[in-house]
Amino acid sequence: MTMIFGVPLVVLTGQLLIGLINGSFYALLSLGLAVIFGLLRVVNFAHGAFYMLGAFTAWMLGQYLGLGYWGALVLAPVIVGLVGALVERTMLRRLYDLDHLYGLLFTFGLALLLEGLFQHFFGSSGKPFSAPAEMKGILRTDFVTVPIYRGWVVVASLVVCFGTWALIEKTKIGSYLRAATEDSTLVQAFGVNVPLLLTLTYAFGCALAGIAGVLAAPIFQVSPTMGSNMIIIIFAVVVVGGMGSILGAIATGYLLGIVEGLTKVFYPEAANIVIFVIMAAVLMVRPAGLFGKEY
């Protein structure tokens, strides 16, 4: 058996892959957070709750409507996005002129509300959600063993992340969004419907969290607390990477996921705090974050 640093290669690549999968979720979620923050200047504390909502919507679509995985993967993010749009239209929009902290506090309340509701109606225990039948197998090679579904998660998240990047950097609507980020008053003066753009952006960010939720559902169990555990890690990721850049958020997400996976091999006790330790180190060396512009 091939060994690297006294660790069998298969174990190492296995953990690297787990790290890459966690990194996929970190990247998808911190990307959504960065997109929302970029335009709305709101730190969406409810992002974890929307991730949970995505997973639960997929589970409910399967449970009550008999919809399969692929249908849920398309429909659940749309539903989550609509919920996001509703929240933005009715409530969040009133807070734009206030201190940014109020946006954080509002979305924190929303996260508690959603988590509490789901806990009340569905209980605290996880709901199983199975991967589609055509992805049940395991891909074996000499140096790595990959369950096919997990490979799919990595590919899907890469596609979504870079699709989002291309949407923002290369299309016309993306250019409106970037312009509104710089100066929304001026963009509105040119006849762009900025309030609509804000709604769409929030809905889109929430839908990204919803996609992450559906992708996560077969890997982790669907449970009401899955979101709050995730959002705190995402905040650390965002502090490390800074919310100023789309690619920065994506790269930091994958990077920290991989580092976390490797920590599980070499020093398992520290695996669930390693991201926070890295955050502390980055704060000491480079307070603005790796890709950060300070706001």
């Binding site: 409530m91 954080l104 509002f106 924190f108 309340g109 009340h120 006790e269 704060l283």
Partner: protein, 324 residues
């Protein structure tokens, strides 16, 4: 950059109004006789959380810094106090002192990192660091994981006064509580407190006046952590256990809600808010309605409809009526 001028805080006059003095005396008198009618343990619990919220408000209301990690100080101190009582078998005042000391050290460590960032990033950093501490508590052997530290007696205060009697304990709590609130009031109205508020109002101007803003913020953070630690230590002494609940991020959220609901930036606000939230939790526990949902909904209503909080709204109405 935190735009503190948008924060709806309540301006306070330095000299207490005569009415306020009378009100404070009446409240202290009420505190002395209340246990005749109300269950003392509930009152002591209220005092713990009122002190916790007041400590939090010292940082948010007067320093303009939103910490999402105050559970670490509250719960960390509860663990230290419980450990000192159970394993070291020291007297309760020394155990509380150990708790406060632990909270101060933790506050200094977290503060040094957190004051490097501002506004929303400050909030996220404190949340992440507190979560790190939570994981530490989950794994460290002395906290006994899910079981927590329990099964110790309250001991004798100064080796003399037996605290197992809840009436005796109540009056000890009342003295500590009144003294702490007075101390916070003194800090807020001291020259140090004034500079802190100046930084909250306009950080750039404070810097240009030559104040080392980061040190003032760090000072406020450590002080706030210390008082939060005192509250946590008292809670451990009261209920005779310390568990993971106290270090969980929900606890950090609850203390924010108490302060927001009562009124950010006033001495009375957090006390009123803590009273309401604890009463609400106690009431809901009997009905089976999900507490988390109720707290979340209260949060949303507060942020959307009355950001001044109850005390702040009351004062605002009063001020509007005075000058038409």
């Amino acid at each position: 950059m935190i735009e503190a001028e948008e924060f709806e805080t309540v301006a306070e006059t330095t000299r207490p109004h005569r009415l306020q003095r009378v009100l404070v005396l009446v409240l202290i008198a009420a505190l002395m006789v209340l246990p005749l009618w109300v269950y003392p343990v509930l009152l002591m619990k209220l005092m713990c959380f009122a002190l916790f919220a007041s400590a939090f408000n010292l940082l948010l209301g007067y320093g303009g810094l939103l910490s999402f990690g105050h559970a670490a100080f509250f719960g960390g101190s509860a663990y230290a106090t419980a450990h000192a009582l159970k394993v070291w078998e020291v007297t309760p005042e020394l155990a509380i002192l150990a708790g406060v000391g632990a909270a101060l050290v933790l506050g200094l460590a977290m503060g040094l990192l957190a004051v490097r960032r501002q506004g929303i990033y400050f909030a996220m950093v404190t949340l992440a660091l507190a979560q790190m501490f939570y994981f530490f508590c989950l794994q460290a052997p002395f906290t006994h994981g899910e079981d927590g530290i329990q099964g110790f007696s309250r001991g004798r205060l100064f080796g003399l006064i037996d605290l197992s009697d809840s009436t005796v304990l109540y009056y000890v709590f009342a003295v500590v509580f009144v003294a702490s609130i007075f101390a916070i009031w003194r800090i807020v109205h001291s020259p140090y407190g004034m500079i802190l508020q100046a930084i909250r109002e306009n950080e750039q101007r404070a810097i240009s006046l030559g104040y080392s803003v980061q040190r003032y913020k760090l000072g406020a953070f450590v002080l706030s952590a210390g008082f939060a630690g005192l509250a946590g230590g008292l809670k451990a002494l009261l209920f005779q256990f310390a568990t993971l609940t106290d270090v969980n991020w929900h606890m950090s959220g609850e203390v924010i809600l108490m302060t927001l609901l009562g009124g950010i930036g006033s001495i009375a606000g957090p006390i009123v808010g803590a009273g309401l939230v604890v009463t609400l939790q106690n009431y809901l526990a009997t009905t089976g309605f999900p507490v988390t949902t109720a707290l979340g909904a209260t949060f949303i209503v507060c942020v959307l409809l009355f950001r001044r909080g109850i005390v702040g709204e009351f004062r605002h109405r009063l001020a509007v009526r005075r000058k038409p």
